[in-house]
């Protein structure tokens, strides 16, 4: 079976900063892969590399059997790869339907306008925006804008969808709803790569997890295994040695409570 996405030793530098360092992983069709890591680990940079906003300094990115390394974003979108943005980017003076239609027009197929509109309607319905099709995007609430971001990407009828923090800033009810939407999208046959800070959500949604730290892959595996990986725990909770040395230096300053996790 052809992998849906394959990263082979991908590296991206910004001046002296190695934002993504020699990163490799493979995604199978139909999979939800969660990408986690502390702030600045390189997660959003990786999305920008995959969809062509940035060109890697070295390495190869293969999407569904096609080498897309260094290809322009609009061409990558044509191949069937769509994304959302962490900071929502609606076309504010266009309606919900028009926003989604734009996504459909520049997606996997060169749809004529009337068919693009149909695809846009379906995408809007899937995320629950079908009651606001003719509302201007700027009048949506933040939860609405997050859904629109997702609907516009979906209207492109992607094979692979990159989701960058679609749950951030939503209230618990909205988060629940959005998780249901993401599951439905996967069940419709779309492969999903997701960045998310809401750990409960991403751990329950993802089939597998890749952990980035300082641009490198720190761990990869099932959510339960990754959450128990000592290196991952240290990346999130900090170096336990600092507290242990503090105790040996000055017993009085410390109560001797290193977290036992």
């Amino acid at each position: 079976m052809t992998a849906m996405l394959e990263l082979d030793r991908v590296t991206k530098r910004f001046g002296g900063l190695l934002a993504v360092n020699n990163l490799s992983f493979v995604m199978q069709p139909g999979e939800i892969l969660g990408l986690i890591g502390p702030n600045g680990a390189g997660k959003s940079t990786l999305f920008n590399l995959i969809n062509g906003v940035f060109v890697p300094n070295s390495g190869r990115i293969v999407f569904n059997g096609i080498d897309i390394t260094g290809e322009k974003p609009f061409l990558v979108a044509h191949h069937g790869l769509a994304r959302t943005h962490q900071i929502v980017q609606p076309l504010t003076n266009m309606t919900v339907l028009e926003n989604c239609t734009v996504g459909a027009c520049f997606g996997r197929e060169d749809l004529p306008l009337h068919r693009a509109t149909e695809a846009a309607r379906r995408a809007a319905a899937l995320v629950g925006l079908d009651d606001r099709l003719h509302m201007l995007a700027l009048h949506l609430t933040i939860a609405g804008k997050k859904r629109l971001e997702l609907a516009r990407a979906l209207a492109a009828q992607p094979k692979l969808l990159l989701l960058d923090e679609v749950l951030a800033g939503l209230n618990p009810t909205e988060v629940e709803h959005m998780i249901g939407v993401i599951r439905r999208i996967r069940d419709s046959g779309v492969t999903i790569l997701i960045i998310e800070h809401l750990m409960q959500a991403i751990m329950s949604l993802s089939d597998r997890i890749v952990v980035l730290n300082y641009g490198e892959k720190l761990a990869e595996g099932l959510p339960a295994d990754v959450a128990r990986d000592p290196q991952v725990i240290e990346a999130y909770l900090g170096d336990p040695k600092l507290a242990m040395q503090l105790e040996s230096k000055d017993g009085g300053a410390s109560h001797g409570n290193a977290a036992n996790v």
Partner: protein
């Protein structure tokens, strides 16, 4: 008089349309060191900013002593004895150490003279006395953190709120700063500390709160917390 000098009830806050805090409550007890830990993006800095008034809360209450200070601007809170040492130090880098300290000293509530307070911070940080004429921006990271804490102390605060004490500092500098915090606590100062290293926060604090997703995920005595798997769950979801 209650034992809580600062108490936060149902705090809600965010930026633009994005809500970060979803009804968060915590207390900083008098004379204690209270720690807040949590993963990136959990809302630690937002909590401190909403307490200090550099960010206006959307809802909830911030009580300082018996007074509701929720809507007071940060300079008024600073004047009443609530000092924030912000993340990344935020010094006036083109000004000297002494000038930075002077700017921290506008405090209508302090009963001590400027000279007394300056003596106190130079006693705590002798290095700053040596370098008082040096531009703050040319100091090392550890020295800059000392200036930031000293600037906070110059307002003669009742509570010192510190955002990310150890971030980017060498271990030897961290130990020095921790020893200073311990001295301050023994002298009766109440401290609220955000610290990214969980182990360090637990080793140092009298009481700790774990924040996840803009809420208190769990809280307790450091020894209890250290023994429970909740911290890992707050950070890693499982």
């Amino acid at each position: 008089m209650s034992d809580a000098l600062l108490s936060v009830e149902g705090l809600e806050a965010g930026y633009g349309e994005v809500q970060v805090l979803w009804g968060l409550s915590l207390k900083a007890r008098r004379g204690q060191l209270t720690a807040i830990v949590g993963a990136n993006g959990a809302g630690k800095t937002t909590t401190l900013r909403a307490i200090a008034g550099t960010l206006t809360p959307w809802g909830g209450r911030v009580m300082f002593g018996d007074e509701d200070v929720t809507r007071l601007p940060s300079h008024v809170k600073a004047g009443r004895g609530l000092a924030l040492v912000p993340e990344g130090r935020q010094l006036f880098s083109a000004m000297s150490v002494a000038e930075n300290l002077e700017l921290g000293a506008f405090s209508p509530h302090s009963s001590r003279s400027y000279a007394e307070r300056l003596n106190q911070v130079f006693g705590l940080f002798p290095r700053l006395a040596e370098r008082q004429r040096q531009r703050a921006g040319t100091l090392s990271g550890g020295e800059q953190q000392m200036v930031a804490i000293a600037r906070g102390l110059m307002s003669d605060p009742e509570i010192l709120i510190i955002d990310e004490l150890s971030l980017g500092l060498a271990p030897v500098v961290v130990y020095q700063l921790l020893a200073t915090l311990k001295q301050l606590k023994q002298a009766g100062l109440t401290i609220l500390l955000v610290e990214q290293n969980v182990h360090l926060a637990l080793a140092l604090s009298d009481y700790a709160y774990v924040i996840a997703e803009g809420r208190i995920f769990t809280e307790g005595q450091p020894a209890e917390l250290a023994a429970k798997p909740e911290i890992r769950r707050a950070y890693l979801g499982l």
